[in-house]
Symmetry: C2
Subunit: 513 residues, 2 copies
Amino acid sequence: MSKSEVISKKDRVRKLVPLKAKRLRLETQHEPIAIVHTQCTVARSEGLSERTRVELRVGDQKTIARLYQDEGQLVSVDEIGLSETTWRRLGIAEGDKVTLHHPRNVDSMSGLRSKVYGHRLTRQTAKAVFTDIVEGRYSDVQISAFIAALASQSPDLSEAVALTQAMVSIGDRLSWPGDVIVDKHCVGGLPGNRTTPIVVAIAAAAGLVIPKTSSRAITSPAGTADTMATMTHVDLSNEDMRRVVEREGGCMIWGGSVRLSPADDMIIRVERELELDCTSQMVASVMSKKIAAGSTHVLIDIPVGPTAKVRSPADAAELSEFLIGIGDAFGVRVEVALSDGLEPVGDGIGPALEAKDVLEVLECERDAPRELRERALRLAGMMLEMGGASSAGKGKEAATAILDDGRAMSKFVAICEAQGGFFRPPQSEFQHVLCAGRTGRIKGIDNRRIARLAKLAGAPLSPAAGLEIHVNLGDAVSAGQPLITLHGESVGELEYAVDYYLENKDMIEGVCE
Amino acid sequence: MSKSEVISKKDRVRKLVPLKAKRLRLETQHEPIAIVHTQCTVARSEGLSERTRVELRVGDQKTIARLYQDEGQLVSVDEIGLSETTWRRLGIAEGDKVTLHHPRNVDSMSGLRSKVYGHRLTRQTAKAVFTDIVEGRYSDVQISAFIAALASQSPDLSEAVALTQAMVSIGDRLSWPGDVIVDKHCVGGLPGNRTTPIVVAIAAAAGLVIPKTSSRAITSPAGTADTMATMTHVDLSNEDMRRVVEREGGCMIWGGSVRLSPADDMIIRVERELELDCTSQMVASVMSKKIAAGSTHVLIDIPVGPTAKVRSPADAAELSEFLIGIGDAFGVRVEVALSDGLEPVGDGIGPALEAKDVLEVLECERDAPRELRERALRLAGMMLEMGGASSAGKGKEAATAILDDGRAMSKFVAICEAQGGFFRPPQSEFQHVLCAGRTGRIKGIDNRRIARLAKLAGAPLSPAAGLEIHVNLGDAVSAGQPLITLHGESVGELEYAVDYYLENKDMIEGVCE
């Protein structure tokens, strides 16, 4: 045993022979992947060959990637093959030299573990976790544990405030001229409840400033951003967003593109694989984006029903308390609108099918879905009152006038054009009609299974996919009468949806044989 | 809108054009991967191109894989590239036809979600989840959420029994001639506490039947299976295990190789990435393997200390209650031995370094680690009494005689030879000595950071890696005196360990400057 340093600096340098970067043009669903040869001496001498994750460095750039090994078809012994995500994160060129390292201890992992073991996140811990997530130091497996741990504990206001602060602190933050910046959000869970485009159009037409950012679907068949993407461009930069809002008073863009809450998309991707929503994460995500977007007055729609996301008035009250409490902590006024969440809203479910309903309401068509119009007008009315564009008790009346005289539609088109163009939503290539098995009265509609059916048909990834629902609660229906039309962009997806429906006909109660 | 079926059977057949299997010889850490061309028409017509996971079918075989896309370097438009795990699960040959499908709804995912939302698992739900995990229907991301959800809730005896039943029901189950089958287990958390090989040797030498299966390390620098693998073969089939036990009365093999608890390894792999242990999962995992192994009497060592896995006598009491309670539910007698968990046991930490300590004790060397010998003799004594090989109160004396007269070592070597050969553990290629910064007395040793240090040096994946600790609690030490010798099989790993030590010198309290 000798006390001298066995590892000299010379050894260090000698061993860190770099590998030549090879772009594999492999799309790996955002997970950064690196592939080395089974016989790669660098990986072996660094003891990395059986490691799960490695750190790659090129100059000052570094990223963590999952390490796979190949026997020679993809890379030679002195090469390292990189997936597109790894390639982009390192910002390198073909043949650049990459060195391989053991990933540093990710300090915030102790915060994750302490969360799993039931401790509340502090602002510092939450910030450390989100920073490491955004900078790519967490694998999807680790993000998944974080989400499950959050979802497992009953939500707590000070933790939700800490999460919100952390999320706001790591993203961009917008500011606007003027004292009143309005915004709206729906907590979701009610298929087809696409009021946002209508409310934004009315509010902006009434002169309010409403820089609306929306998310893509997490577990639902469509998010507002998915629906808007079938009618205009939603991936706008901060500057483009500002230009649109300055010109039209409002916008309807995808929140991810302006980096208001950069951890969100990485978390949402994992939540989608888990088909899971998490309350603390959800309220922090909603409020952080509102705060980062510079909103001062936020209206939140909470549909309540046994198969909606919020199942009982007690749950709705708890959620309201959280949203209002977080608002208070940041000086943002939050108002909550509880609404009936018993059955889907509108006819269409899926990005383009919901867009079609929205346009029917905006264009005041005779067949426009009545319930969607009513909900949008109620919310728009509350918003006009909140924002001072109408006197108390007169909001809905003012909103109705703006919708009926065409100002809302004109404003909607003007906003879309400012965002890069207005176009009509696409139509699906394949349809399939599902009919009542027997004569009866509709006794119940299961929102969750309806949403699942629309997703199996391909929504939201296939924009024209989803379903139209032709009946409402309480309707008398004859045997053979159409209940649902499925829309799909591929036969495979439509087949899956049909199979699922045949196994779950009671998702519409009262008319299945 | 037409009521006729838009999708005919003919369409279905036409669209399901198979792809040619291409073996990529890509090792992907057990995650099944499939790669199709970005322009692959089958994936596009099935709407699969942006899906996370797809089902692959070849004849009657099917498996779920993660779908990546490539622009043409790896596969052509009519090929599907498969990783080694995917290849093995499908059991196919180069050029075989593979069809791509939407993965079926994994029904047990609703059980996972209900667990996340705080509901207790029933036996049925647990069985459904474990079955789907074993059959490859869960991604690592989903397994991670399951583990985090389990770890997040305080453990519950009936849930732990349900988990145990589920795990027993999906694996193989052994039975042995004779009424008494003894077994031991240590819950871990104390580096170097490698008593099992000694206890098994003594018990088998005393005539007891002890078919011991052990796990590889989860979050520790070595599991018993990792240590035994440096001295003999541990990957035995059920038949080979039976042959060894029939011949020698005992064995010391890796539990994963006999499929006693097939979900375990998949869960452990994810726990390793999370650096997380979960009590319910742990007790179910331990007890299911004991039950599946046909044990009737089980002795469980629980080290207790502020930096051990079990931190307080109260936690130890809770854990004991679970282990004994599960035993009761299955008619297995469980005895618990609480032990001091203040500091590491033995000198070596890491597979081969612990094996060296074990051999020193078995060979009754003068320098053999005293504490390891004492602990092993205490446990062996309890086991001899439990199993009826010694009268009450005389167990330790009997065990000491068996160790000191060489019968234990002879039995150990005989068992190793029956398992395929006995060999001496390997020596590390690189060493580095860490010395006391100042003269003082050792006031504390942090088991967790010592374990982490051994892992950074490369244990357990590099068998000879780890560390030797040269001091005990209370020792008087002079400045410059060696505290720890790090052992590594690569320079990279050793460097990491040294860096970590320099940042965490207070892991040995009282002598850092």
